[in-house]
């Protein structure tokens, strides 16, 4: 009880110094949490990928499309249940800054994505309208799209002005599903291309391949690719997760940099905290020597320093943890649609707590050992 009293009162002894250290810890734990959440957000698409979906694309690059005629041959591969078309449209909504993904998809596309929930009436309305489009809930919320609205797009990959009518708004089955995209009929794009640029017609960006057994994914992928070996457009088939991770890997250096920065932030606060504890312990050398003279052991003196360090870290880290979800929400809003899924994960919260704990312990080790070892007669001579 006495130890706790001494710890708490010592922690509050230099209010400005302790306050600034707490603030530094708050910022460090908060920054660490946000940076880790940014990394998690990068992997969110891959984490949400289905194990029953494969992606077949050109083996050369995603920039190259595949003939639509491949579809029937892929469907014929043993283990394949469904094949859907998907082509990246990449148009601009009003201004380039209003970026959101648009895909020209086949009518059966949503059969492969049960995690997207669309009322049947809206689905039928979309199927009936060749210029119809479906928008995800996050996208609809961001731009205020409603059913019946016209979305004008300026083509970048497919030049010209395009107009789509919102026929439905789909939701994600849970909050981990990204619903920040727009889908419209591949048939409409293809017909338009036949008129505008016939050479680009009958091409598909990627085929989404539904399979009946996830454990056969590798075997089915090989079987699909074997179909088009030595053809003009060879394919590369991989799981949806591998496909998503290939996008993430393009940003590996950025992710590594973010990761390093998050650790550097913790190292900096560790140095600040260690300095604070060293100063505190040094100022109290005579007090520690007095306690030892009175009969308190070296362990008690070490406990006071560890306790003070942990108390400061508990307050700073606790405040940082408490503020992280609010800061994440603000960050998500400020980042626009860049991170559709930006939620602080449980593992990030645990890592934040571990960092605060680590800083508390590591910062106190040297001062605590020194204080516990100081000779009483030397300590009593010291001036705080």
């Amino acid at each position: 009880m006495h130890a706790l009293k001494l710890i708490l009162r010592n922690a509050l002894r230099h209010k400005i110094r302790s306050g600034l250290t707490v603030f530094g810890l708050l910022i460090a734990v908060l920054a660490y949490g946000l940076l880790q959440t940014v990394i998690d957000a990068w992997y969110a698409g891959a984490d949400a990928a289905s194990r029953t979906r494969l992606i077949t694309r050109s083996s050369i690059s995603l920039a190259f499309s595949l003939p639509v005629s491949y579809e029937s041959r892929i469907r014929g591969v043993d283990g394949v249940t469904t094949v859907a078309r998907s082509t990246w449209f990449g148009a601009i909504y009003k201004e380039p800054k209003n970026f959101f993904p648009q895909f020209a998809v086949s009518a059966n596309y949503l059969d492969l994505y049960p995690e997207f929930l669309l009322p049947e009436a809206e689905r039928q309305a979309w199927l009936r309208d060749r210029k119809g489009a479906l928008v995800g809930r996050q996208l609809a919320d961001q731009y205020g799209f409603k059913v019946g609205d016209v979305i004008p797009l300026r083509g970048a990959i497919y030049p010209g002005d395009w107009q789509f009518v919102v026929r439905g708004i789909f939701d994600g089955a849970d909050e981990t599903k990204i619903t920040r995209q727009m889908l419209f009929h591949w048939d409409y794009l293809n017909e338009s291309l036949r008129q505008r640029a016939g050479r680009r017609a009958d091409q598909v960006g990627v085929f989404i391949v539904g399979i009946n057994a996830p454990e056969r994914a590798a075997e089915i992928s090989r079987a699909v690719d074997a179909q088009f070996q030595n053809s003009v457009a060879e394919t590369l088939t991989e799981t949806e997760q591998a496909f998503q991770l290939s996008f993430v890997s393009m940003s590996n250096e950025i992710i590594a940099a973010i990761r390093v920065v998050s650790y550097v932030v913790i190292l900096i606060i560790l140095a600040v905290m260690a300095n604070t504890m060293a100063m505190s312990a040094r100022e109290r050398t005579a007090e520690h020597a007095t306690l030892k003279a009175l009969g308190f052991g070296p362990g008690f003196v070490a406990l006071l320093i560890f306790g003070e360090s942990m108390a400061i870290c508990a307050v700073g880290g606790g405040l940082g943890l408490w503020l992280t979800p609010y800061a994440a929400a603000g960050f998500k809003q400020a980042a626009g649609g860049m991170f559709p899924i930006f939620a602080v994960s449980q593992s990030t919260v645990i890592a934040q707590m571990a960092c605060a704990l680590l800083v508390g312990v590591a910062a106190a080790i040297v001062p605590a050992v020194q204080a516990s070892r100081v000779r009483i007669v030397d300590g009593l001579r010291s001036v705080g």
């Binding site: 006495h2 002894r13 009175l294 009969g295 052991g297 000779r375």
Partner: protein, 235 residues
Amino acid sequence: MPVEAVAPPLVEIRHLARAYHRGGQIVPVLTDITLDIQRGEFTALMGPSGSGKSTLLNLIAGIDKPDSGLLRVGGLDITTLAECELADWRSHNVGFIFQFYNLMPVLSAYENVELPLTLTGLSRAERRERVELTLSMVGLADRMDHHPSELSGGQQQRVAIARAIIADPMLIVADEPTGDLDRQSASEILAMLQRLNTELGTTIIMVTHDAHAAKTARRLIYLEKGELLLERSAA
């Protein structure tokens, strides 16, 4: 003729030596000190700076260790005790009074005095009773909740005296207890120490530069260059 039993000395020192290492050199501080201090004595250690009086006090109090010689306190050779055993021994047997009081600034007068008792098995109620009684003895019953910064130097030293006697130690060591006080406060502190010695029979060893303070003691030991130079008894 009946033989009167002679009580063993509380502090028994034989051929005690202590040196410090400074910059690769060995500086002798105490050389061949032999001395007995009886129970109930009030002893003043005097001498010029560097004479070794504080070192001798520290050795007797068990916060420093001699290089050679015998040092028994209460019949126990404290030079053989390990660090933690020595700490435990100090908590039960030695009360400390320092020149600069050495109170915990974050604790109140009450809590400072209670501190040594937290190392005993006394209950909270028992501790309270003893602390209140002891603070009353030193005339600070009305200042229990005050922190050291809210007390004068003399009052702080009285809190330190209360802390020193609270666990009823067999020995009180005081290192320049009046060195930081004005004449009036110093006289009060010395009178208090004298009362402790005469009324309660507490053994006190006090280091002082002040001849006036030394007169309070019943025995004077003068050291110079690490050696006992003079002994005088007030009686």
